[in-house]
């Protein structure tokens, strides 16, 4: 059974995202060796307005 709730989905979402982090970066690929040396990849995961919810309304 699939239950929609914020905590579960965020947790599930993060697990899915972390799995992606472990497999391959989605970050833009540097076009040159020089860029590759100068660029630092960082992923930002962001959220907002959780509203204390476990189950989204509607």
């Amino acid at each position: 059974m699939v239950v929609r709730n914020h905590v579960r989905t965020v947790r599930g979402g993060l697990l899915a995202l972390l799995a992606l982090f472990m497999s391959a970066s989605l970050a833009p690929v540097p076009s040159s060796a020089q860029d590759a040396a100068d660029w630092l990849p960082v992923t930002i995961v962001y959220n907002s307005d959780v509203g204390g919810k476990i189950d989204p309304c509607g």
Binding site: V2, V7, R8, I44, S48, G51, G52, P56
Partner: protein
């Protein structure tokens, strides 16, 4: 090996002003702590339960709240750290948060809490250069400013690299660049989560290239079994809390064979009376106490809602939450009784004094008060 991750939230983590939501917010804070957020902006909802509660959550769950423009009115001190510096993947991120002063901060604290919210633009014009001086290579703004506020603030304040918009209902599903800054927004109530994969210049922290993905957290996202078990266990606790919080005001009166129909049903035949009473003290009885932070106090709800201690009466979850205020059935009893035989409850006159008693309504006089609602 996975790449470094920075986790941020643009505010309004907390729930509505009710005891039930406050209890649930505690659970959400506990779990949010485990996710490992690096910075959380302050939204007006995060003060719904008062400053003491916010600080308790911060201390208990080590939540990295930050706010640059919300102050205590008496001494002008900021409530929270002005900004945070976080090193991640060789980049030093400076993260700050501002809130729109027009958003109303209302607490359900017993204290009369008011706050001073400074102008976001002026705040950031002074703050961003100081963050740079303190070592911030990449400036991240948690803009609790709503849909249009993000673009406006970027137009007014230079030198911001990334702006996460809060107090919004619209996720941005593609890359957006405004004034050379990345403008991003996820969604609300945990409906989606955003991810920005960025390449930052070594030594300067400048965002050189990025992709944005928002993932809708729907049924396609697999349950985490451990978290699901915790959520279900919490829901059991919450139901116990809900019952316990009623105290002596349990729903034991009336009959399970009858139903409250709400004033929407009454209106179908009694539009004239509905028009007469729509702005009355009775109709707005729950709103009145909610403004004082008492919208979830059982000792108040028993008189400020309809059928609170009756089977099928007011509760704060649907559908019984439609019985807000003192509706027709608060005096006239179950609508199903009336609908069945067309009679109105003649004992309605006697119900006034159940709430208009000496303690709560010492000046009550039937003739005087009846004149206000005569129908």
């Amino acid at each position: 090996m996975g790449q470094p991750v920075l986790m941020i939230d643009a505010g309004d983590l907390f729930g509505r002003r009710s005891r039930i939501d406050r209890e649930q917010t505690r659970f959400v804070c506990e779990v949010t702590s485990e996710f490992g957020y690096d910075a959380i902006g302050l939204g007006e909802a995060d003060l719904n339960y008062g400053l003491d509660y916010l600080r308790e959550m911060i201390d208990t769950y080590h939540l990295p709240f930050t706010s640059a423009n919300v102050r205590l009115p008496d001494d002008g001190e900021l409530l929270l750290p002005e900004y945070l510096l976080v090193e991640r993947g060789g980049v030093t991120f400076g993260i700050c948060s501002v809130m729109d002063p027009s958003y109303q901060i209302m607490t359900m604290s017993a204290k009369d809490e008011t706050y001073q919210v400074d102008d976001p633009t002026e705040t950031l014009k002074g703050l961003v250069p100081r963050m740079r001086e303190a070592g911030a290579e990449t400036v991240v703004l948690l803009a609790h400013l709503g849909d249009s506020g993000g673009e406006s603030i970027l137009a007014a304040v230079p030198d911001i690299d990334i702006c996460l918009v809060g107090h919004s209902r619209r996720p941005y599903r593609t890359e957006r660049i405004v004034q050379q800054a990345a403008l991003i927004c996820s969604s609300y109530e945990g409906r989606s989560i955003g991810r920005l994969d960025g390449q930052f210049e070594r030594g300067t922290g400048k965002l050189k290239a990025f992709d944005v993905v928002t993932t809708e957290l729907n049924e396609a996202v697999a349950d985490d079994p451990v978290m699901l078990e915790r959520v279900e266990a919490f829901k059991v606790h919450l139901e116990e809390f809900r019952i316990a919080s009623r105290g002596i005001y349990q729903q034991t009166l009336g009959s399970a064979d009858e139903s409250f129909l709400t004033d929407r049903e009454c209106r179908k035949c009694h539009q004239d009376i509905w028009d007469q009473l729509r702005d009355s003290g009775h109709t707005n009885a729950l709103t009145t106490i909610a403004r004082k932070g008492l919208g979830d106090a059982p000792e108040c709800l028993v008189c400020h809602t309809t059928g609170y201690v009756y089977i099928g009466g007011y509760d704060d979850k649907p559908p019984a939450n439609r019985l807000r205020g003192v509706q027709c059935e608060a005096c006239h009893s179950y609508g199903t009784l009336h609908a069945r035989d067309g009679k109105w409850a003649k004992e309605a006159r006697n119900t006034c004094v159940t709430c208009h008693d000496q303690e709560n309504s010492p000046e009550f006089d039937y003739d005087t008060y009846w004149a206000k609602i005569a129908h």
